[in-house]
């Protein structure tokens, strides 16, 4: 019983990581139809931001709290810059955004290597996050790692914030208007260029937040982005492009599936089985879990 509960928690925590890395992408890929291969490098930028801040702020807890907004701004600014320099010339040409951002991702990796050195680095986690809480006592205690709980909380907070922004704010309305019909939005007086850039800023900023969270799980390195980018795309494509709801559900389902399969088999076999399940699912629903039928961009 403890094992099942423990594994479910592990699955949910893997799902939270997946969700965090995919969330920003669901905005830039899902809503704006830009295949941003540099999304992983924005995650890396967030992680390195945490590392840099920790060098100047000695308290690990405080530096983590500071890192969250700063990483959002750093990665967001990188994203907005990328949008302004390159991507705004390539809307409606998704394949070209793929190639361009892939090139950018390689350049950013090399830049990180030049600045921080090729070997991976680590941050110190705040003491409160290195421990665990005991949920069920007894001989075989059920424990939840604090770092995982923190990541879960962060993922939920990010989803809520993003969905409220899209639904309730004037900016959100403008983003949705541009996505649904760019020309009509433009003639209605919306500055589509500015909306694009802001949306890109938010999506990339969320990648930065994911980067901060990933420092709690593993090492920080120039190639950490490439390790997560495929998982992020899987979540978006299976969830249904442009659908926040789909991404949320799929991230947690894949997380639990991965952890349950991993427990009963091995890491590699579980990865294969998850991919097989995804292929099978896409045969059945090529459009993903949810789709918006009336969209102009797909």
């Amino acid at each position: 019983m403890t094992v099942i509960l423990g594994q479910t928690f592990t699955g949910i925590s893997i799902g939270a990581v997946l969700l965090l890395i995919a969330l920003g992408l669901s905005l830039t890929f899902g809503q704006m139809n830009v295949i941003n291969m540099a999304h992983g490098e924005f995650i890396m930028a967030g992680a390195y931001t945490t590392y840099v801040l920790q060098k100047s702020i000695t308290s690990a807890g405080l530096s983590m709290l500071v890192a969250l907004p700063v990483a959002f701004l750093v990665s967001g600014a990188l994203g907005a810059l990328l949008e302004w320099l390159l991507i705004r010339r390539l809307y409606l040409r998704p394949l070209d955004t793929l190639l361009v951002t892939w090139g950018v991702s390689l350049m950013l990796q090399q830049l990180a290597r030049d600045i921080f050195g090729a070997p991976n680095v680590q941050t110190r986690a705040p003491d409160v996050l290195t421990g665990h809480i005991t949920v069920l006592g007894g001989d075989d205690p059920l424990t939840f790692a604090n770092s995982r709980l923190f990541i879960l909380g962060l993922a939920i907070a990010a989803v809520v914030a993003l969905s409220l922004t899209l639904r309730l704010t004037p900016l959100g309305r403008r983003i949705r208007a541009v996505v649904q019909n760019r020309d009509l939005a433009e003639v209605s007086g919306i500055s589509t260029g500015r909306v694009d850039r802001t949306a890109f800023f938010i999506g990339s900023g969320l990648a930065g937040v994911a980067g901060v969270a990933l420092t709690l799980v593993g090492p920080i390195g120039p190639t950490m982005g490439t390790n997560v980018i495929i998982d992020a795309f899987l979540v978006i494509v299976v969830g249904g492009i442009g659908q926040l709801k789909g991404s949320v559900i799929v991230a947690f389902v894949l997380g639990v599936l991965q952890s349950v399969l991993e427990y009963s088999t091995t890491v590699s076999v579980a990865k294969v089985l998850v991919l097989v399940a995804i292929v099978a699912f896409l045969q059945w629903r090529p459009q993903g879990l949810y789709t918006l039928r009336t969209r102009s961009l797909v």
Binding site: G6, W102, R113, A118, G218, N227, I230, V267, V298
Partner: protein
């Protein structure tokens, strides 16, 4: 669904990045270029990628040895000129760079490689070109190559002493965790055979892909197994994620000690001693190892690379390997690999780990085994040693339980 199509295209593109073997076909063996007053040697290490955490220090240590030798007059009157190449934690790249070092730079010998996968990748290149590789890292044994000198430990100088130690501490039930490639899989096969013959039980065996950072499930499995100890053959910075998760799961060095065979001082420093304090390691050398040769080595290394830089076993084995090569060349009075090999038997060096001797038959060296405990200061203190250098036995011929392994 242009998006999905583009994604598929991206996957294909990134797969193209992986290069294929470049052992190449050589019409004639490339002879080392020793015409001038220098002799070139190759340094082949991962300076980027998941293994860089470990291999950069080996390269630094090789450079130190070369500088020292050059300062004292070089080898056979020639200064050593190192050519450093980056294997980038990618085995085909290792093979390609090895070939480049031998054929284009025409080096007299090459020092480097860390993972067994990279060694296996370059082995045919060195054999085909009849050029020498000095390999400085402990490994799983069961290998001999006429063109490789193994200056790190083989199984009976590290893994078996570690198992003997666990047994002597009453640890009967063990759990195996490793990276998914040659070394851990072979090592674990040997550990299972040992366990069977010694009344120990292996409760589980788990592998994570090299570079993997998701260890929550493995930590849960280890915890649920209620083993006495964990035998860790993870390599590179997967260890960071593993030990973070291990601590998060509430496991400690007291409740379930982990004995690691790939974590040395440098890795301890970057993983963080708060995650590792009290855990065990098995090596032949620690920065704290007593002896005048080590004091000199540690001092020279810190003077060159910074006071905060620790020294570790693979660094020591790499450093020693350059001196062993020098001694062999001087005994052979030639840089020719065949003559160097012929001169190798019985060569000794007063290494930082203590006196080492080359066993010409297996091209391994006699080494002292040492078990250490990681301290809160990040240094490793010896808790047991074998007393004298152990004769290398890469094929475990001296152990009846190992007869079925190959």
């Amino acid at each position: 669904m242009a998006g999905a199509a583009a994604l598929a295209a991206a996957l294909v593109l990134s797969a193209c990045g992986a290069k294929t073997d470049a052992g190449g076909t050589s019409d004639k063996a490339a002879k080392a270029d020793t015409s001038g007053d220098t002799v070139k040697v190759g340094l082949l290490n991962s300076l980027s990628g998941t293994m860089a955490i470990s291999e950069v220090t080996v390269r630094d240590s090789l450079k130190l040895a070369i500088e020292e030798i050059n300062a004292s007059g070089g080898v056979l009157g020639k200064k050593i000129q190192p050519i450093s190449e980056d294997g980038a934690s990618d085995w085909p790249t290792f093979a390609e760079k090895a070939s480049k070092l031998i054929k284009e730079d025409r080096v007299a010998a090459t020092f480097g490689c860390w993972t067994s996968a990279s060694r296996k990748a370059v082995k045919p290149v060195f054999e085909k070109n009849k050029s020498l590789l000095f390999y400085p890292v402990q490994y799983e044994g069961l290998e001999e190559s006429p063109y490789i000198f193994y200056t790190g430990a083989t199984t009976n100088q590290q893994i078996i002493p570690a198992l003997d130690y666990l047994k002597s501490q009453g640890k009967k039930k063990i759990y195996l965790v490793g990276s998914d490639y040659v070394f851990p899989r072979t090592a674990n096969k040997e550990i299972r055979a040992y366990a069977k013959a010694n009344g120990m039980k292996v409760l589980g065996e788990d592998y994570a892909p090299l570079g993997s950072t998701e260890f929550s499930t493995i930590a849960n499995k280890v915890k649920a197994s209620k083993a006495d100890a964990v035998f860790n053959t993870l390599n590179g910075d997967s260890n960071v994620a593993f030990f973070k998760e291990y601590k998060s799961a509430g496991l400690t060095a007291t409740s379930m000690p982990v004995v690691s065979v790939s974590i040395a001082e440098e890795e301890v420093k970057s993983i963080g001693s708060q995650y590792l304090a009290g855990q065990l390691t098995a090596w032949n050398y620690y920065q704290t190892t007593a002896g005048a040769a080590n004091t000199k080595f540690v001092k020279a290394y810190k003077a060159k690379y910074g006071q905060s830089k620790p020294t570790s076993d693979p660094m020591e084995a790499a450093y020693t390997s350059v001196y062993l090569w020098k001694a062999m060349v001087e005994k052979a009075k030639s840089f020719d690999p065949e003559k160097v090999k012929a001169a190798s038997d019985g060569i000794t060096f007063d290494a930082p780990e203590g006196k080492v001797t080359v066993d010409g038959a297996s091209q391994h060296i006699y080494k002292t085994a040492r078990i250490g405990k990681i301290g809160t200061d990040g240094l490793i203190k010896q808790v047991w040693d074998s007393g004298k250098p152990i004769k290398p036995d890469p094929f475990l011929k001296g152990y009846s339980w190992a007869s079925g392994l190959s």
